[in-house]
Symmetry: C2
Subunit: 559 residues, 2 copies
């Protein structure tokens, strides 16, 4: 068991908390809050939920992460990709705008919370490794494109629901007939303003106020000119005050339907969050405990599910901002939560005038920065199979949906990994004349012995490649009738599982029937420890040699 | 494209066929036929099909394998495990004894044929590697136990259908009330006779006639004493003559329902067949072409589906007999087919008197030799994770069914493999004083430098362990504030995929933020070729050193 301080990392930093840290953390909290207000409203809308749900999800979860999280600078809350995944999973069981839809979103947060905590307690964080980098970056690019496409409708003044590029494309073409001039003008101007601020030479913290400025300005304009009456879609009446306590529905059927969606949300959310946390921690030589992070993010999602929220995770953009504002401790999360709670309590009535087009513009600017096209080219240059997995993820995500896209990517990268290791590189070796070195006979001028066959295999031996080794040995000796001794050099063999052990026994037996002795050389310590527990070493027709050279010397002299 | 001789291996051996080979092959064919008659009848019954279907499946498929197969001694036809899998898959869509059931079995043969041929043409033989040795041997043991349990009913004089041990156990207990004395006497005596012959010191080929002798003797007895009228279950009226031509039903729904079953039958059948073929070929230093074997077994199954047969594959027991009878060419298969065709044409009417208890006794003796309990102990001794996969396969196969058992085993062994490689062994190294060697600081008395951190990772780097490496490096440098240079030695790294490449870039970037230079050492040729195509080498804050010693020398002197 780990000590309490590791379960509750707050106990480590809180006792030493001082005035200087308070000053820095407060400043960072103000900057993060300014960014979080427009983002949380926007991502709740993106998830198909009432805008204030974003604010609700930015209170309790932040406090819980501050207590349980190991990152000093990660900023938790609603994020774009998870919002899209929430919309996709909840949309499969209910219609946007209904209480069932809200209940589905709460259930997703609850399940994600439970899954993350369970993974943390069982130390199953390694499961997230199933998501390879090409799959995750392909997935983010494809999701960002879908999100951007889905926001073009609201920006032009019509609603366009759909989960895939073909659906959104059709909706967009059909909607072009009903473009609404005032909305387009407002949304277009906001978009131009946001990009102008982003590329402006202003001080970074000033630039970062752009989304909040746009929000305040367009809301004021909307209220003043009564834009809602002129056909501009606005957030509309929303309940003010603190987030109501909620109990997510306890329906086994709903849970099992939403389980897969919640699992994918958990994994994607965790992978994004942990890589951000690690990157930031590294700059200050701080440590992140991945298993504890699972528990912290799980608690944050549990908190969201009981306080009218939505699934949350660590945010790229806000974490960077928090880090650059010199946040010193996770207390920033608590101050930010207090700030959002004040905004929620005091200003939500004003938000009813906020035009949806403003939120769409905010979302488009935020997600387009996630699209990473150069990495597609770089992956293609480096590895065809990684490229294939990435392309499948992007294609299936765009054409079929986010869950299918992720699953296709994971399945293909697993399959390709097994394929790659199922036919490991192996070489017939000869001796570099006058030395103790042995090299591939096909690449170097080396000395060979027609009675000795030296084979090197460049991969750990396990079930996926065990039979390939049998076939390869078979092929080699069938072509060399004069061979009396075969030496397998194992310097690249890090493990031998039970399947490979049986294959070695099979090879030994087959070679013995063919009158050939079977030797091993350069077996690593841990591998040898394992082999000593088996009967292979007794039944081995040849010997285990420390080095290939020793084996060669012994057998070459013999003959 | 491979040349025609490799697509049709018969073209290689047929032109050189001579009288001596003919003599040997004929003798082997007689012995194999004697074994095949009782086995084919028994396995057809086991598959829930009319007994003569076993004979039908022993004609056309054998000829096709002789034309397309690359093994000189493999004996193809109905086998026990595949018969059980056929019963399980066909039983899920139809009831035994109905025409729909027969059609389902034909469809399974057709689909297996198509799947095997497709895998052979696409060179997808590596997919069979997903079945690890522990999974396959656990599966065979569990299947054999289920088969033996299923035959106790007919041996005691009642029918007991069921696909799992709990079902069969319940059926057995319920059936004990209706044990039929004469059947039990006949079956018991047959069982004793078969075991007595098996353990007798007689000449092997004589011993092997036991099942045929038992068949002829009990059939004669049954006909003479009119046992059917006394309540002994017999095969009953069956159609004689050559196998009727059949067209498997072309129903897309049926095809998709049976696909998974057919896929598993194909893979299990192929794995069994190829390992037998390889073992026998090795003894004579002959070669097996796995991809061509897929095509040959696929043709055999296609042939079975168009000639009233059932799924077939290479048989353990008959192949060994064939080999030991000095079979010289695949022509044995053709002669055996002719023998079975003659028996089918002339003697099928007699087979109607054959007691089912005789077939059950034959099956029990045959399958119990497949149960391998010592390997469970050996696997436990060698590797806990392989043992877990084996136990899951056995447990799920016995409790839930053959298909679920196989799938559970494959899923678990894949998961465990990824788990094993996801946390690769790594070590901090120090220099063995006065030498060029570097060893684990925790195991050896070595020289270290507080500014230099030398890390060795004992596994290829790919998506499943890429992030672990990031975490590990993070952890190491967080604990060593004085480090200025980190050297990663890569002698055990056989591949670096795109995920791992990105992790190396991340590590490089993070170390650079922390003011630490990142060096690589002992990078293998092919891995280096890959890295040269990337930007890592340019952005690397340190250097790539040929050996760990060189890196040490350079950096140790620097400091």
């Amino acid at each position: 068991m780990k000590p309490l301080r590791q379960w509750v990392p707050m106990l480590e930093w809180a006792p030493a908390y001082n005035r200087q840290a308070f000053g820095r953390d407060m400043l960072a909290a103000v900057i993060v809050t300014m960014l979080l207000i427009p983002q949380s409203l926007a991502y709740a809308t993106l998830a198909g939920l009432p805008a204030q749900v974003g604010l609700y999800a930015s209170i309790v979860p932040l406090i819980l992460y501050a207590v349980f999280g190991t990152s000093r600078t990660l900023s938790v809350g609603p994020v774009a990709i998870v919002a899209l995944m929430t919309a996709s999973a909840a949309g499969a069981v209910a219609t946007q705008g209904t209480p069932e839809y809200v209940a589905a979103a709460l259930t997703l947060a609850l399940l994600s919370g439970l899954i993350l905590i369970a993974m943390g307690l069982a130390r199953l964080g390694f499961l997230t490794n199933f998501l390879s980098h090409p799959v995750i970056s392909g997935f983010i690019t494809a999701s960002a494109l879908i999100i951007a496409a889905s926001q073009l409708g609201p920006l032009l003044g019509f609603s366009n629901t759909g989960n895939t590029l073909p659906e959104l494309g059709t909706g967009l073409i059909n909607g072009l007939r009903s473009v609404h001039g005032p909305t387009l003008a407002l949304g277009g101007l906001t978009l131009v303003f946001l990009y102008a601020m982003r590329w402006s030479p202003l001080e970074p913290n000033l630039r970062r106020t752009a989304p909040l400025l746009a929000l305040v300005a367009t809301t004021t304009l909307s209220w003043w000119l009564g834009l809602a009456d002129r056909g501009v879609a606005v957030v509309g009446d929303i309940s003010g005050g603190f987030p109501p306590l909620t109990t997510p529905p306890l329906e086994p059927d709903l849970w099992s339907t939403l389980f897969m969606g919640a699992l994918l949300i958990s994994i994607v959310g965790f992978v994004e969050s942990i890589s951000m946390a690690q990157t930031l921690a590294a700059r200050r030589r701080q440590r992140i405990d991945p298993d504890q992070e699972l528990i912290a993010l799980g608690s944050a999602n549990l908190g969201a599910s009981f306080s009218s929220g939505m699934p949350v995770t660590g945010s790229f953009s806000r974490s960077v901002v928090n880090f650059e504002a010199n946040a010193e401790t996770p207390a920033v999360g608590i101050y930010t939560a207090v700030g959002i709670a004040l905004v929620t309590a005091l200003f939500t009535p004003l938000i009813s005038h906020l035009p949806l087009a403003t939120l769409s513009a905010t979302i488009i600017v935020a997600v387009l920065s996630l699209v990473d096209l150069p990495i597609i080219k770089r992956t293609w240059d480096y590895s065809v199979s990684d490229f294939a997995a990435m392309l499948a993820t992007i294609g299936v995500t765009l054409a079929v949906g986010v869950e299918s896209g992720l699953i296709a990517g994971v399945a293909l990268s697993l399959g390709l990994h097994l394929y790659r290791t199922s036919k490991p590189h192996s070489a017939v070796l000869g001796r570099v004349p006058g030395t103790e070195h042995f090299r591939n006979v096909e690449r170097h001028e080396v000395e060979t012995d027609e009675k000795l066959l030296v084979v090197r295999v460049d991969e750990s031996l396990y079930f996926a490649n065990a039979r390939h080794l049998e076939d390869r040995v078979q092929e080699l000796i069938a072509a060399r009738p004069s061979v009396t001794d075969l030496i397998l050099t194992c310097q690249a063999v890090n493990t031998i599982d039970a399947s490979a052990l049986e294959s070695l026994e099979t090879i030994n037996r087959r070679l013995s029937h063919a009158g050939i002795r079977f030797h091993l050389a350069e077996v690593k310590g841990p591998v040898m420890d394992g082999l000593r527990k088996t009967e292979l070493l007794q039944s081995l027709t040849g010997e285990v040699h420390l080095s290939t050279y020793q084996a060669w010397q012994r057998l070459h002299e013999d003959s």
